[in-house]
Symmetry: C2
Subunit: 338 residues, 2 copies
């Protein structure tokens, strides 16, 4: 199913008032996406508010099954339930949906895409294209060039995830809890089950049998799908830290072929969208503050892991709202209209 | 070299005004260590201040080579340089030194001790006993019962370390930076090279060749020494997070013999000083806030890692000032006088 090529497109953002939706609007403007008209949709609660696009205020309208007529591309930034409900209507109306929710990611017929890694799978879409989980997107950006050169056998990923991944209420909660603690007041937990300020928590539902969180399972399954290789063995531990924006990942890999750190750095540097920031002698490595607001995925702390014959440790930092969500969705749209 | 048994001892704390030194004084009182007299020493800068012990103010005196006469046990809470300079004088004066610095940890003749793990090595001391690095202490507490039951072949440890590990100036810096950011003011970095508030950083010197930090190397070497097994292969990634107290560790292990999560939980629960806090269905797992101020090492998130035949993931949280430093030192002293 190919998108009909035009000079400019009717683009809709579904879930426009959330952190990812707002970021999509900004990125469409920033990257000069050929927008004929921008249509913003959200739940009833947020309908009526406005967002600015190209110096014009656009009113957010209530999402319903009937809003998709005449729209070419829908960028989905709602939760899975809303996406499941509305995306099929958008497709029926002739739009292509690029969905940031987890609703369709693991459906075999739905391409799950990071353009630099598996852009070729876009050709097979049937109206819905899935955008990966934020932690997965930055992970596969670092894995792909190493996998192509040396075949990755095993990945152990440990995350330090920022609160913006949960949404703006979570950012507000970190702010409020921090302010309360600085003023010796009691802390309220509304969004997260435990205090996030000055703490490390696990805020995803865990499988009572295996103990793995939804986030960990997503990383494992989505990485295999995007890399197009079910033979890669992956295990993950996900943790939320008191950081506003950008996720860090400590990534341990084992490869079939030996890769020295300098070879890995060269492969990563040559990969589009990845920046190597790695000079231990000068204490250079990426932090969340470096990656926040940036498009690139930063890799540093590339070290030989001598506990196995062909091991490497990496430190991967990316903006969870950009490459981890809105930017990747817009890049998919760019690939579709190319 | 055995400590002469008495009803009560002359105990000195060297570096008494730092976070670890103060914690040692508190723990000696809390655990009713048989103290005949407590002697507090610090650098010139801190000499003259007082600390309270058993409701009495004790004046901190300036550390010098001549202060150790008549002292039975020295708890060392200075940095490595001061310990190297003064510990031999304490030993010469007849004291046993339990040193929290890294100065002597890897010397073959110096026992490096976590009493629950390798208390038997205390018998061989020659006057100096080393207390491990904070991250190592809580790690070996979780590894030991699993190693004894199933032989650990490989460990991949990823840390989330609190700022109290750096000292009180670092705790102050996290507080001040947080306050500045909440008031939209500029952040000052005096202790850490980068902003720690709402960020994740690496504040240890890294080897320019291998890229590994001093902290990572300590974890690898000290773990092997304490476990008494050089065959365990270990790799580590250490990171500082904006948390005041208690370190978290994501620990991935591979064992010779298969260990199911329930078997691992039972082994860990039975080990002295370890508490299992693990019920995924009830979202129960330890956070730094749970462990802060506590003596036990908490283990949760025990999961089978199916990416290898005999793999397990663990989440280990401990108070870096207690089991990671002052408590372990006092426990060594308790073992010596038993």
């Amino acid at each position: 199913m190919a998108l009909q090529k035009k000079n400019a497109y009717h683009v809709a953002v579904m879930g426009a008032t959330g952190v990812v939706g707002q970021e999509m609007v900004e990125i469409l403007e920033e990257r000069q996406f050929p927008v004929e008209a921008l249509h913003l949709f959200a739940s009833e609660r947020s309908a009526g508010s406005t967002l600015t696009f190209r110096n014009k205020d656009i009113v957010v309208r209530k999402l319903s099954e009937e809003v998709f007529n005449g729209i070419d591309i829908v960028l989905g930034a709602t939760g899975g339930d809303l996406s499941k409900k509305f995306s099929p209507h958008a497709v029926k109306a002739g739009a292509v949906v690029i969905d940031n929710s987890s609703a369709f990611r693991m459906e075999p017929a739905v391409p799950l895409v990071v353009p630099e890694v598996n852009g070729h799978t876009l050709a097979n879409h049937r109206g819905i294209i899935a955008n990966p989980n934020c932690s997965t997107a930055q992970l596969v950006m670092a894995l792909k060039p190493l996998h192509d050169a040396a075949r990755i056998k095993r990945v152990i990923v440990t995350t330090y995830q920022s609160v913006s991944g949960t949404g703006k209420e979570a950012m507000q909660e970190l702010m409020e809890q921090t302010r309360a603690l600085m003023n010796f007041q009691e802390v309220e937990c509304k969004v997260y089950p435990q205090q996030i300020a000055f703490n490390c928590i696990v805020n995803w539902d865990a499988d009572p049998e295996t103990g793995y969180t939804e986030e960990e399972t997503k990383i494992v399954n989505e990485t295999k799908k995007i890399m197009g290789d079910d033979a890669i063995r992956i295990t993950a531990t996900t943790t939320r830290v008191p950081v506003f924006r950008a996720h860090c990942e400590a990534v341990n890999i084992e490869t079939e072929k030996k890769l020295l750190p300098n070879e890995a750095r060269a492969l990563l540097s040559a990969f589009p969208g990845v920046v190597v920031m790695d000079d231990p002698g000068r204490k250079l490595y990426p932090t969340p503050l470096d990656a926040a607001g940036q498009d690139d995925v930063y890799v540093g702390r590339v070290r030989e892991d001598r506990s196995v014959p062909n091991g490497l440790n990496l430190w991967v930092v990316g903006d969870n709202l950009r490459k981890g969500a809105a930017l990747n969705a817009v890049q998919i749209a760019e690939a579709l209209i190319r």
